[in-house]
Homo-oligomer: 179 residues x 2
Amino acid sequence: MNYCSVCATPVTKKIPAGDNRLRFVCDSCQTIHYHNPKIVAGCIPEWGDQILLCRRAIEPKSGLWTFPAGFMEIGESTEQAAVRETFEEAQAQVERICLFAVLSLPHIGQAYLVFRGPMHSPDFGIGEESLEVRLFSLAEIPWDQIAFPVVKDALRRYVDDVTRGEFQVHVASLSDRLT
Amino acid sequence: MNYCSVCATPVTKKIPAGDNRLRFVCDSCQTIHYHNPKIVAGCIPEWGDQILLCRRAIEPKSGLWTFPAGFMEIGESTEQAAVRETFEEAQAQVERICLFAVLSLPHIGQAYLVFRGPMHSPDFGIGEESLEVRLFSLAEIPWDQIAFPVVKDALRRYVDDVTRGEFQVHVASLSDRLT
């Protein structure tokens, strides 16, 4: 950020009165420009004992696998964002999705909200941001070709829960070593 | 947003290639300025059968009651944000906090992540953004003086869970009628 988005004056970095963090502040119109973490909403779509993964067609990590996930938009709920991303990336419809994990990535200002839920039917397709979409049994998950450590972390927790036969809502923070 | 924060050129609202939503776009440097929902992290601090609430000293809803909550910052996890807000607003330390609710407010682009957890000690105080901080039994909650409908919704769910004797993680979306 170089300029105030309200009045185009160059911004300076300072701690506003009553605050304790450096913010971009406009000395002309006094606007404080806050930057906050973004929510990535994702879903592990289930069809029987299988889950649906997508091979990314876009950078970063083009060519590697993930479950459908993307930035939540204003105007939707977290669940709606997860359902939308599942349809956009894998052309699959999920229903009755449950929150599965809240995984913070503090160093890059993201929080993943990962849901899981059954597919409405075995129909799916290749969304614009995907190269390939397919169902995997848990034994087939391509662990060495997963796009992001946070996705791998969520999938490991998922496999553990399925193995143990009980789902919980996981809340964790991943250090920069892992992302 | 009137001007590009990168190069100070006036922005226009358009749907970028490969996108399906209106964004602020700079026609000079081509930056797309995304606006995404913000996370409000909060905590219901527990001391025995009581919970700690704060009377807001700032607008909006100055003078009304809430549990500690505020915007998550880059560089922290959702739990750390909830713990920080609890200390800033109520000078109380909470430990072993659990996720209690994920409540989306689509129309204002916010998602509340509400935790609950025991206070480390009965010590608390009046933070800068509070007029008054006190412990309430669940029967004493000032329902007609709660700052925001989303806070009231979370507290109602909390009281229901305590009454039923079992906590769950609530995921819901609140319409604009309720916020």
